[in-house]
């Protein structure tokens, strides 16, 4: 029997949170049953908890601002942004109200606010429904960024995030929803995985016990799949040993649990689906340099999608978005893609 799909896991996470904490509520667009949200994350939620599911008009700015007010009232609102491309409308309440309220008033004010945001391409939705906006939210004091991946259990994760007391943005790559969670220790015939870090900050995916791997790839969210494909090919074709590290938290980035892995690696890749220029991968690379300068064998390689709008047609979209081939080429050192 397959493990549950990630969308089912996220849906169960909501049901469990709603069931155990009456302060939890959900606001966003098209949430009501039988539709249950554009990606079905909120399925059956409005039937079970009609008072706490607010299916809002197309008003990201105000319903995110409302959620800030709910959080200031002591509620624990979850906001669903249907497509991350629309989160620009919600930038002000997140940046200037939710995040600042934590510390702007001279003492810590807990803000229990979780904003879930569907992101990413490879679905043919085109330039305004496929982007990865993570980098635009980097470095805002008290705003924390997380991303769903196939390893971390969202039932635990959402429970932790809603209770942090800092507003959190959780990115969900839309290609992950229909995938199954990875729970068995053996990922397949080649790879095994386990959590590492005192708070299970990373899933570490490896071929054999990683003594001194040829390469480490830091790969959040859905880009773990192109990383896996590239790592498999690099092993089969070139006997390269690659370790993949998949974080749940993007920012602030928890570097400590993986410093040893990074220090032993001959090559480090940081990959993401977003585009370069003040990007998440670049910020991680900068952090790595400041900790490991003088011990690195090679420059850290950041891989992004091309600096381009995202076209609709599949063959064009593939040309723009990060592919496993790019990761493979960088792994074996054939080319470095900006």
């Amino acid at each position: 029997m397959h493990a549950e799909r990630i969308v089912e896991n996220l849906n169960r996470a909501h049901h469990e949170l709603f069931g155990r904490d009456p302060a939890v509520c959900l606001i966003g667009e098209d949430l009501l049953d039988p539709y249950g949200g554009a990606f079905k994350v909120s399925r059956d939620l409005s039937t079970r908890f009609p008072e706490r599911v607010l299916s809002a008009p197309i008003s990201e700015c105000a319903f995110t601002g409302m959620a800030c007010g709910m959080a200031l009232a002591g509620e624990k609102p979850i906001v669903e942004i249907m497509f991350g491309d629309f989160i620009g409308y919600a930038f002000d309440p997140l940046w200037n109200l939710a995040a600042k309220s934590v510390s702007m008033y001279g003492r810590r004010v807990p803000v229990h606010l979780l904003v879930r945001c569907t992101v990413g391409g490879n679905r043919g939705f085109g330039a305004t429904h496929s982007q990865s906006p993570q980098k635009h939210f980097l470095g805002i004091p008290d705003l924390e960024l997380f991303e769903v991946n196939p390893f971390h259990d969202n039932v635990e994760l959402l429970g932790e995030l809603i209770d942090r007391g800092n507003p959190v943005l959780l990115f969900e790559n839309k290609t992950l929803y229909s995938r199954h969670r990875i729970q068995d220790d053996d990922l397949d015939d080649l790879f095994s995985w386990r959590f590492i870090g005192p708070r299970q900050e990373f899933a570490q995916i490896y071929i054999e016990e990683p003594e001194s791997p040829d390469a480490v790839i830091i790969a959040p969210g859905s880009v773990v799949f192109p990383a896996l494909e590239a790592a498999r090919r690099a092993f089969l074709d070139h006997e390269m040993e690659t370790v993949i590290l998949t974080p749940a938290q993007l920012h602030p980035f928890p570097l400590a649990p993986i410093l040893d892995d990074l220090a032993r690696a001959k090559r480090i890749l940081v990959i993401e689906e977003g585009i370069a220029g003040g990007s998440w991968a670049e910020s991680v690379a900068t952090a790595i340099y400041s900790h490991l300068w003088g011990r690195l064998e090679n420059p850290v390689i950041c891989l992004h999608s091309k600096t381009s709008i995202i076209p609709c047609a599949r063959h064009l979209e593939e040309r723009v978005l990060l592919q496993s081939g790019h990761v493979f080429e960088a792994l074996i050192g054939e080319s470095v893609r900006a």
Partner: protein
């Protein structure tokens, strides 16, 4: 005192001079009015002497609005204030000491000197400096108050300039759909920083509220008793049967937008001062006003003298 109907007023039509202060609470009302006015004047004076850092937005001319409304608010109510918020804060708490020390960055400030003039938070009161931002937040608060089943309402003070933001309309829509106990108080002074209402507003605020099925009142004049007579039953009704309400005050800003930026002609500003509440108030209650003004003045002078002696505020949160 009258509710104004019809099309938008021109800037030159300002609230009529009318008697003010409610007879049954004259002493408290006059104290609050003088305290706010005296505080704002003290701030401008301290700025001109180079004692204060940053900026401020005084509510000179508009003091009567929060003074009129404050007694109508109850304990569970939550007030969201804006950049021009000293009057809102002082009408609720009377805490000139905490506010001045906050603006001066001294120990004893409401928010340890971190928030400053525009970012205050205490006991059911929160202000923030981005216009249009607090209206949806107040709606979220109203949702929670309604859900918890009390009589509480959420109040958002805005200027008319803030009604340029789309967040206000998105919120009116949801507040009306979901029948939220949200009171939006519009202090319409017909000026947005340096711009005149005719330059930035088509139509009327009242009509905009009506477009969402939201009840709106438009009030001119500054007779506290009459304002309370008009507004009190409306707010009481919101508590019994939750729904949003917009109350627009046609008012006047006597001071500059912040410290020295007033492009209006001296003649117009002088005309506005002639329509101010203070002179007729003093005429109507000469003894009480004199006594109160002296008491408030002494309190503020003592505060001026002691505030500078306080140590700088502590903040350990910077990481």
């Amino acid at each position: 005192m009258h509710i104004l109907h019809g099309s938008a007023q021109r800037i030159s039509v300002v609230p009529p001079v009318v008697p003010i202060a409610a007879p049954e609470s004259a002493e408290a009302d006059i104290e609050a009015l003088f305290l706010i006015r005296g505080f704002e004047r003290l701030l401008l004076d301290l700025f001109s002497r180079g004692v204060l850092n940053g900026t401020t937005h005084t509510c000179l001319g508009q003091e009567y609005i929060p003074v009129a409304l404050s007694p109508l608010f109850e304990a569970p109510d939550f007030i969201f204030s804006n950049h021009r918020g000293h009057g809102h804060y002082l009408a609720r708490f009377g805490d000139v000491e905490g506010l001045l020390l906050e603006i001066m960055g001294r120990a004893g400030g409401v928010c340890n000197g971190v928030g400053g003039s525009q970012h205050l938070f205490r006991d059911g009161f929160l202000s923030t400096g981005v216009l249009g931002e607090s209206v949806p937040a107040a709606a979220g608060m109203a949702w929670s108050l309604k859900r918890r089943g009390g009589r509480g309402i959420a109040v958002a003070y805005t200027g008319d300039g803030g009604w340029g933001e789309g967040s206000v309309y998105e919120t009116l829509n949801m507040a009306s759909l979901w029948r939220l106990p949200l009171l939006v108080v519009v202090e319409n002074n017909a000026m947005a920083q340096s711009s005149h209402a005719e330059q930035y507003r088509a139509g009327t605020i009242e009509d905009r509220a009506h477009a969402f099925g939201v009840r709106a009142l438009r009030i001119g004049g500054c007779d506290l008793a009459e304002i309370r007579n008009l507004v009190g039953p409306e707010i009481a009704a919101m508590r019994e049967r939750p729904r949003p309400l917009v109350i627009e005050f046609a008012t006047q800003r006597l001071g500059p937008h912040s410290k020295g930026d007033d492009p209006r002609s001296p003649e117009l500003v002088a005309e506005l001062w002639r329509r101010d509440w203070e002179a007729p108030l003093r005429e109507r209650h000469p003894a009480l006003c004199e006594r109160t003004a002296a008491r408030v003045g002494a309190r503020l002078e003592e505060l001026r003298a002691t505030a500078l002696q306080k140590p700088l505020s502590e903040w350990t949160d910077a990481r």
